[in-house]
């Protein structure tokens, strides 16, 4: 099979990613609330991170925010303790998140719901360690981080654009590569995939680390952008929940699903949040229940039903 679409400089789905990224480069010039744009990009990137793991391997990481938080803390401490420039510090954040993922790789032995709960527990453990008052000299404990010196709203916005592009890049690559195919084979039929010569453990771990790296980068960039935060705000379970629901809503294992899911639901969140604030969690819960009962493969499956290919 030819993975790279013919007669076109980019692989399938590539143009959509370029379009969305370009939009976020242009929008700040015509729309003033850059924080809204920033958060939108952050959730787009996180949703793709969830997509890499859940969409391609079937592991649902409830504790995904653990990587986000460790990226935020890794990057912040690199700025505060090692005095690194923020851009390098972001990479440190990603490395910390990947190291954490390596440490937690044995969790991949668990399946389904066990993995989901165990990963949630793992993110809580990281939270309690980071926020422990005994580690105040290292992490500031529960008192939170202040990066006032490194604060740069425009540069951190630009960094998030890059993170977003990377997240899209990873998914486009998975959609069009051997690794992606192998992962999906594992998801559908783990045993026969193994017989067919797919190294199940290695490929899974690969997706796990990629997904963690994306969350770590997003977390570090978020830390840089807000510059003042508390452990609770970067280890907030809602961050996982949002990213997971956006992904499920749009449709997993596609590039466009999580994009459309995030734009619609996060748009709705801000729309309701800015004018009529109540009832959002309720709507969210109902969306989840309805999805499971009537549309377990997300919006994308609606299009597939009418034979439209969704990249």
């Amino acid at each position: 099979m030819d993975y790279w679409a013919k007669g076109c400089g980019l692989p399938r789905g590539g143009w959509y990613s370029v379009g969305v990224v370009a939009l976020f480069i242009v929008l700040p010039f015509v729309y003033g609330n850059h924080d809204l744009l920033f958060n939108m990009m952050m959730y787009l990137a996180l949703a793709q991170g969830i997509n890499v793991l859940f969409g391609f391997t079937g592991y649902l990481p409830f504790g995904y925010v653990g990587f986000f938080g460790s990226g935020a803390y890794g990057a912040s401490l690199a700025v505060l303790l090692l005095h690194l420039p923020p851009v390098l510090a972001l990479l440190v954040g990603a490395v910390i998140a990947v190291l954490l993922a390596l440490l937690l790789a044995p969790l991949l032995r668990l399946s389904g719901a066990y993995f989901a709960i165990a990963s949630l527990a793992a993110s809580e453990v990281v939270y309690y360690i980071v926020s422990n008052p005994h580690l105040e000299s290292l992490t500031q404990g529960p008192y939170g981080i202040s990066l006032a010196r490194a604060y740069d709203a425009d540069a951190s916005y630009a960094a998030m654009v890059v993170v977003l592009a990377l997240a899209f890049g990873v998914v486009v690559y998975l959609r069009n590569s051997h690794l992606g195919l192998a992962l999906q084979a594992i998801r559908e039929e783990p045993v026969s995939a193994e017989f067919a010569g797919v190294n199940v453990v290695r490929e899974r771990t690969c997706a796990w680390l990629l997904s963690a790296a994306l969350a770590g980068l997003a977390g570090g960039t978020y830390a840089w952008h807000v510059s003042v935060f508390y452990p609770k705000s970067v280890f907030d379970l809602n961050i996982s929940v949002f990213a997971i629901v956006f992904t499920l809503f749009g449709g997993v294992a596609t590039l466009l699903g999580p994009i459309v899911g995030t734009l619609l639901l996060y748009g709705l969140y801000n729309w309701i949040g800015i004018s009529q604030p109540e009832y959002f969690q309720l709507v969210f819960g109902i969306v989840i229940v309805m999805l499971v009962l009537f549309l377990p493969n997300g919006l994308a499956s609606l299009l597939r039903r009418v034979n439209v290919h969704v990249p």
Partner: protein
């Protein structure tokens, strides 16, 4: 000091067994993890709080109301979603996500209905005097909660091992298909088990103001995780194994709170991960593969 800690651990252990046993019963019968377990406990807590503030009802006397309300709720919930889920492609994962959605809905409705004030039932409802047990002095509410928990666990035992319904329930736990082929009405048995599971959570909720601190609508997910840790430590799918899990957890928690208080909050999560990785079948029970 150590005697006090151990006795407190025992009381809390019994209480945590009650908190978690419903989750384990539901898992045993339906093989699904009720992510909304903690939210039902929260609703039970609000029911007890409502009865106390409206009519001065002592939480002990609120128990019958809790049982009736939540058994019915559980049966209704079962017929609304479970048969449909069990017939789907990936029932375990889908039910997990669906119950998560349900947990969000319950939490949101609770916020809308009760607001965000933290509520408490004064501990003096069980008498203002602390109670002395084996020379150690405890708040009366702890002792009452411990006793109620022990009684509830005993009731679960009688239900499972000394009644015909329990016999059928255990048959469903062993194998849904075989139970169906011997003429057991699997849906009816499972629906009742879900009702009993929720009712046990609700009864635990009535005592949560004394054992877990103040009641608030968003306490659910934390309690679900702790309950899951307790049943994993005991043995998944074996309701009575929960007692062992509860005691290990309760004693561990009290020892941590006494000697390393700032690390105590981490305990359930660390235990959960360790047990899942090292001995997934729990401290009791045979080895089973979860992967």
């Amino acid at each position: 000091m150590i005697a006090y800690t151990l006795l407190a651990g025992l009381l809390f252990g019994l209480y945590f067994s009650l908190v978690a046993v419903g989750l384990n019963l539901v898992f045993g019968v339906m093989r699904l993890i009720n992510l909304a377990h903690g939210d039902f406990l929260m609703l039970g807590a609000f029911l007890a709080y409502g009865l106390y503030t409206a009519a001065g009802v002592n939480p002990v006397y609120a128990i019958p109301a809790e049982i009736v309300a939540f058994v019915l709720a559980g049966i209704a919930l079962y017929y609304a979603v479970v048969p449909r889920l069990l017939s789907s492609r990936d029932p375990e994962m889908l039910s997990f996500i669906l119950l998560f959605g349900l947990s969000q809905i319950i939490e949101a409705l609770a916020v809308i209905a009760f607001g965000n004030d933290q509520r408490a039932i004064p501990a003096t409802v069980f008498g203002a005097r602390p109670v002395t047990v084996f020379g150690q002095t405890f708040p009366a509410a702890w002792v009452v909660s411990g006793v109620v928990s022990a009684a509830a666990i005993l009731a679960v035992y009688l239900y499972l091992y000394r009644s015909r319904l329990g016999y059928a329930t255990r048959a469903v736990m062993a194998s849904r298909d075989e139970a169906a082929s011997t003429g057991i009405n699997v849906h009816r048995v499972s629906a009742i088990a879900l009702g009993v599971g929720l009712a046990l959570a609700a009864v635990a909720g009535a005592f949560s103001p004394f054992m877990l601190g103040s009641i608030e609508p968003d306490m659910g997910i934390r309690i679900t995780t702790v309950s899951f840790a307790v049943i994993v430590i005991g043995s998944l799918g074996n309701p009575l194994g929960t007692v062992l899990g509860g005691l290990v957890y309760g004693l561990g928690l009290m020892l941590m709170e006494t000697y390393f208080p700032s690390w105590a909050d981490m305990l359930p999560y660390v235990l959960l991960i360790l047990i899942l990785l090292i001995r997934p079948s729990g401290l009791l029970g045979q080895r089973v593969r979860l992967a």
